[in-house]
């Protein structure tokens, strides 16, 4: 059995998890400082990929980065960079689809922090950067980790948008999700079942990890409130 889909899925999910981790935390932390009306509007836009069908995300992506779209054409012309139908095309799709999960969990984790910590820290002369890295991040750790694991799981399970921007090229762009679909179409149930089993094991482990993290996070918060 060719394990390329597993490896490809894992590398795509890993890279897009790193991206969503950084972007999600950046957005969640930055949005608290904006005026209320802008906050509301931005929050809707940033959460949209969570409720949109992934095919809509895929459609927008193709209309932006495919060689037929202006931006995609420009990149192809100037840098000979083709952003669709390659293995890394899936990173765009999975990052966008997983982003809202990271952003919303991170925002929740930051909002649960005691605002008096930052106020006190500021009067002690501590910089914004110190407050973010040494006070906010460590105390939001459990929530941020849970969000990261959830984003990883979502990225791993992404199908719709990925299929649209990468297609299915065995050994080049195939992921577990697109492979299962292809095998079903070919009537190769035996192999499809194997990939389904692999996917189940990974997803199950991820959910157990999330539960454990959330339980530990709850304990830490109760401790800090005492």
């Amino acid at each position: 059995m060719d394990l390329f889909p597993l490896i490809n899925s894992l590398r795509v999910a890993a890279i897009s998890t790193v991206l969503t981790f950084l972007l999600g935390i950046w957005a969640a932390n930055g949005i608290t400082r904006l005026p209320a009306w802008l906050k509301g509007a931005l929050d809707c836009i940033l959460t949209l990929p969570l409720v949109l069908p992934p095919t809509v995300v895929g459609f927008f992506l193709l209309k932006t980065i495919s060689p037929k779209a202006p931006l995609g054409a420009l990149l192809l012309e100037s840098f000979e960079l083709k952003l669709t139908m390659t293995w890394y095309s899936a990173i765009f799709a999975t990052t966008i689809v997983a982003f809202p999960l990271m952003y919303r969990t991170a925002r929740g984790a930051f909002e649960q922090l005691n605002p008096e910590w930052a106020a006190c820290a500021q009067t002690m002369g501590l910089s914004r950067r110190f407050i973010f890295w040494r006070i906010k991040m460590p105390n939001a750790k459990a929530g941020l980790l849970a969000g990261t694991v959830l984003s990883f799981a979502r990225a791993l399970g992404e199908y719709g948008a990925t299929a649209m921007v990468t297609g299915y090229i065995p050994g080049r762009t195939a992921t577990i999700a697109t492979t299962v679909y292809q095998l079903w179409r070919e009537g190769n149930d035996a192999l499809a079942f194997r990939w389904v089993a692999i996917d189940l094991v990974i997803s199950f482990s991820v959910l157990v990890a999330v539960n454990l993290l959330e339980k530990r996070g709850g304990g830490a918060r109760a401790g800090s409130a005492a």
Binding site: E116, W117, A119, C120, Q122, T123, M124, L126, N139, G223
Partner: protein, 339 residues
């Protein structure tokens, strides 16, 4: 010395604060929602007033006209919250070190922290996390942390509210010493009368976002000027008064009392200053005893409307007795129109 004059629209009401504090402990006293904490935040710089001017020891911290707004990091202000806001991911030692950043060079910090641990009776607790400490110890750490960089102004936001009452008194005594050593201006936010009397020198009453003129703690407690001030100072008996030619009619108590001024709109007295008597006096109220308890006697004024009087206990009388509730002339406080 601190001069504060500020206005800020916030959550449906307008904060309007104007006071001056010397090197003393000034109480900011008011019910919850009166804007006390927001006032502290504006002074600390973690909230921004819409208008106004804040000057600390001659240094302008905020001036809306001159467009001065010093960031909280540079205001030299120590802030202590009700729940102490200790950083839960850091040990006591690390929390204290945070208070010393920018104030003490890195090399000297460890020694400085040891000194703080000693002077706040925290020796041996340096490696504990905040949740491993008792409430009193947490308060000491928080106080040590905000005094570590020797601020010019101390802002205390209900520092005893989270402590059991039996712990409070002892920690209060420690705080009195600490504040005396500090020697600068302290703003003490509270809604507790007894705490105010024990710890503060003057009082600025806050009501619905507005600050009242600052008064000495004795005047505040014994000579309130308005009805709301009398209620806040803990006067048990407060009623409306209608003066005319040196005599005030008090409809709720069904009484006519001689009054010193014609500008009065109300009168108040404390339960402990009234006594029950079988005979009428100058300032007295005809009433019937409703019930008695270890702490107080409750009377219904005979000629009054919907009012109960609270008076100190008196074993000579029983429920149902008709008596006179008498108040010494200097114990009745005449109240004026709310400013």
């Amino acid at each position: 010395m601190l001069e504060v004059r500020l206005e800020k629209r916030h959550a449906g009401f307008t904060l309007k604060v104007d006071f001056y504090a010397g090197n003393e402990v000034l109480a900011l006293l008011g019910a919850s929602g009166a804007g006390k904490t927001m006032t502290l935040q504006c002074i600390a710089g973690t909230a921004r007033p819409d208008r106004g001017r804040i000057v600390l020891d001659g240094r302008v911290l905020f001036d809306s006209e001159l467009r001065i707004d010093i960031p909280p990091q540079e205001r030299d202000v120590g802030l202590l919250f009700q729940n102490y806001a200790l950083f839960p991911n850091m040990t006591v030692r690390q929390n204290l070190q945070c208070g010393l950043v920018h104030a003490v060079p890195r090399k000297a910090r460890a020694a400085e922290v040891d000194q703080l641990l000693r002077s706040f009776c925290l020796t041996g607790l340096g490696d504990h996390y905040p949740h491993q400490l008792s409430g009193g110890q947490q308060q000491r750490v928080a106080l040590a942390r905000c005094l570590a960089r020797k601020p010019r102004l101390l802002l205390l936001d209900e520092p005893f509210a989270a402590l059991d009452s039996h712990l409070r008194w002892q920690l209060e005594q420690e705080l009195v010493d600490t504040l005396a050593d500090f020697g600068g201006t302290t703003l003490y936010v509270t809604h507790d009368r007894e705490e105010t009397r024990r710890l503060c020198h003057r009082v600025c009453v806050m009501r619905k976002g507005s600050s009242m003129p600052v008064v000495g703690v004795w005047d505040w407690y014994h000579k309130p000027a308005t009805q709301s001030a009398a209620l806040l100072a803990g006067f048990e008996n407060v009623a409306e008064a209608i003066p005319s030619n040196g005599v005030a009619y008090i409809p709720q108590w069904g009484a006519h009392w001689p009054c010193p001024r014609n500008a009065v709109v109300g009168v108040a007295f404390r339960a402990e200053q009234a006594r029950l008597s079988p005979v009428q006096e100058d300032l007295s109220i005809a009433c019937r005893i409703l019930r008695t308890s270890e702490q107080e006697t409750i009377c219904v004024p005979a000629g009054g409307v919907d009012a109960l009087l609270r008076i100190q206990p008196d074993a000579r009388f029983a429920p149902g007795d008709a008596v006179w509730c008498c108040i010494p002339a200097d114990s009745a406080v005449w109240l004026e129109q709310e400013g």
